[in-house]
């Protein structure tokens, strides 16, 4: 492993790197928040792109990037061209993409990769014999999807047939036998494999054998167990395995990401001779094509960092990276009492205690199962960190807490999509906002809410605007849902108990069918109100 070359400022020597460009993916909407974290922890200014941040990282700090708490995945940039032109000719585009491999700064990527992962043999940063032949462009997925579709259709037809059979028990035995035979055909998927193989062989001349391999791994994976495929290129145990993942955005391209990834991967194979492997690979090369921008980078995370720290996931567990973003927005101080009244599996309190701030966390939930998840998640933390958190079972609209006892409320409200019900939100949101207004410190109290049901939240805020003012709103992309993160501050106004009584009376009056529904589902904790004890 090369030592960090901090003191060698030699800008024109291309093989001496003291700085590299890191691209880190973050939840869309949290780019600024993540940028602030980079500035604070690494002292580097980051540029916010859509769903990503990019920053120049000194070699000595690369390892620290993994400790950032708001980033999901990160990679080191090995090639970037902001004005790459694609031609109208598909084949020409692919040929150009293949030739791009020689322009990529592989030594840098491999050097940094080695800091995070290991491979039993030495990985040459530059191949022994540099080839200028990057193979012929190929278009692997012109035929296979069609055939795959066919077989799918076939098996679907079979399903229907089977159903009919079940209904009509008078069907003849011979018919059934026929059906079964057909069904077996569909499952084995022999036609798929046959088609795919002949196809690629036809398409590819001898010098691009690798694509046969690649193509096979991609589309025949399912069938691999049934019929061992013959590798045309033997596995080289001295070489690492790799895959290429392509992300393409923009309307101006005449190829798809699969084709681009296959061609780029094929060219890397020609260049380095690394083994192609789609799963459990050693290296992941990321090819990003965004309109006229082309970037090639080396992946430095094998699993998204958002999965860290949580062992027991519930149906709607909040990503710890999002939880961290919300915690950062609240600017928690030493000695603050932070409360998540609807904590689910406990992402927010857990991230709160792990982020190193000296604060005390209350994790409240209404559902029994959720509290079990909180407990099992807390069990995996070291005992010193669990000293700063307590779990309580309660109903957010009836918080058993003294007035003005909490400094910050942070919570992920049930969206009413997978958890809860949109109608139920109209009771829950205003109820929770009012109760939080009572429990939080006037003037200094803060609140950070995440929800997809923004309309309901806006109305609820309007209702209680004498207690809460909105200081910041972020729109984030949460698994395809446009969710809003709202940062609220408590006004100076003392809490009026009359409001609470009015609210409770209103609740009793409107209690009806929806309430019962959520109760029947049993494990639908965030929305059902305090009744099942």
């Amino acid at each position: 492993m090369a030592a960090p070359m901090d003191n060698m400022k030699n800008s024109d020597a291309s093989d001496v790197h003291d700085v590299c460009t890191i691209d880190a993916t973050v939840t869309t909407g949290f780019e600024t928040v993540a940028g602030e974290e980079v500035q604070e922890k690494l002292g580097i200014k980051a540029i916010g792109l859509r769903g990503r941040i990019r920053f120049e990282c000194p070699m000595s700090l690369v390892k620290e990037v993994a400790k950032l708490r708001t980033v999901d995945n990160f990679r080191v940039l090995m090639f970037y061209n902001s004005n790459y032109t694609f031609s109208d000719d598909q084949v020409e585009n692919m040929r150009k993409l293949r030739n791009l491999v020689s322009e990529v700064n592989w030594p840098l990527g491999i050097q940094i990769w080695k800091r995070f992962f290991s491979f039993e043999h030495n990985i040459a940063a530059v191949p022994e014999n540099i080839t200028s032949d990057f193979g012929e462009p190929c278009f692997p997925n012109i035929q296979p999807p069609k055939s795959a579709e066919k077989s799918k259709r076939k098996s679907k037809g079979n399903k229907w047939k089977k159903k009919r059979e079940l209904k009509d028990k008078l069907a003849k035995d011979t018919d059934q036998v026929n059906d079964k035979n057909e069904h077996l055909d569909g499952v084995q998927g022999e036609p798929v494999e046959a088609l795919c193989n002949t196809d690629t062989v036809q398409l590819l001349p001898v010098d691009a054998k690798d694509n046969v391999q690649k193509d096979c791994t991609e589309s025949v994976e399912v069938n691999a167990a049934k019929k061992p495929r013959v590798r045309e290129n033997p596995w080289n145990p001295l070489m690492p395995s790799f895959r290429v993942t392509c992300h393409r955005t923009g309307d101006s391209h005449n190829f798809d990401s699969m084709t681009a990834a296959a061609n780029f991967g094929g060219a890397i194979y020609c260049y380095f001779g690394w083994n192609v492997k789609m799963t459990e690979f050693d290296m992941e090369v990321l090819l990003n094509i965004d309109e006229h921008q082309v970037a090639v980078s080396m992946g430095l995370t094998k699993e998204s960092l958002h999965k860290r720290d949580i062992t027991t996931f519930g149906p709607t567990t909040l990503r710890p990276t999002v939880a961290n973003g919300m915690l950062r927005l609240c600017e928690i101080q030493t000695g603050d009492i932070v409360c998540d009244p609807m904590c689910g599996a406990g992402s927010i309190p857990i991230q709160g205690i792990l982020s190193g701030q000296q604060s005390f966390h209350l994790a409240g939930e209404i559902g029994k199962n959720c509290l079990n998840r909180v407990r099992s998640n807390l069990k995996f933390l070291s005992s010193e960190s669990t000293g700063k958190v307590d779990a309580i079972r309660w109903d957010v609209c009836n918080l058993p807490l003294r007035d003005k006892s909490v400094d910050v409320f942070i919570t992920d409200l049930p969206f009413g999509v997978r958890m809860g019900h949109k109608v139920e939100n109209w009771r829950l949101y205003p109820g929770a906002l009012l109760e939080m207004a009572r429990v939080v410190q006037p003037e200094s109290g803060r609140c950070c809410l995440l929800t997809e049901d923004q309309k309901c939240l806006f109305r609820s805020l309007q209702k209680w605007n004498k207690y809460w003012t909105r200081s910041k709103t972020l729109v984030i992309n949460l698994g395809g849902l446009a969710a809003g993160v709202f940062v609220l501050s408590r006004t100076r106004l003392p809490f009026n108990m009359e409001d609470r009584l009015t609210m409770l009376r209103e609740f009793k009056r409107t209690k009806g069918g929806h309430h019962k529904d959520s109760r029947d589902k049993g494990d639908n904790p965030e929305t059902s109100k305090g009744d099942d004890s």
Binding site: G335, S359, F360, S383, G387, K388, P400, L401, D531
Partner: protein, 124 residues
């Protein structure tokens, strides 16, 4: 449940209960867990907590003399005092037991260290 949490809990959400604080602790299992001592954190907690309620809670757990009668003057610099407070506040944990409302006598069970503060519909 740590005593810091107990110090914030109240039962005045029950219909008709005016002052549900402090809740009486009837503990059947108490554990002592070591928690890192941070003087700044503890010092900032002191103005937020109800001192007499904390003393009462410590007495409920069978440690009546673990805290002085009143908050020490200039407690920010008094490390011994802060350490004592830290121990009672953060390191004593009620694992099994009950919390009792001082006014109505309603019992809230504590199991596995988690108090159940849910109310029945007619109690709200």
């Amino acid at each position: 449940m740590k005593l810091i949490t107990h110090n914030m809990l109240t039962s005045n959400i029950i219909k008709g209960v005016k002052n549900g604080f402090p809740l009486k602790i009837i503990a059947s299992k108490v554990e002592e867990k070591e928690v890192d001592f941070n003087p700044e954190f503890t010092a900032r907690m002191i103005p937020k907590i109800d001192w007499q309620a904390l003393r009462q809670a410590a007495a409920d757990l069978g440690k009546p003399n673990s805290l002085p009668e009143a908050v020490a003057d200039q407690y920010e610099e008094n490390v011994d005092f802060l350490k004592q407070t830290h121990h009672v506040l953060m390191e004593l944990e009620v694992i099994e037991g009950e919390l009792v409302c001082p006014e109505s006598g309603r019992k809230f069970p504590v199991s596995n260290g988690i108090p159940n503060m849910l109310l029945k519909e007619d109690e709200v």
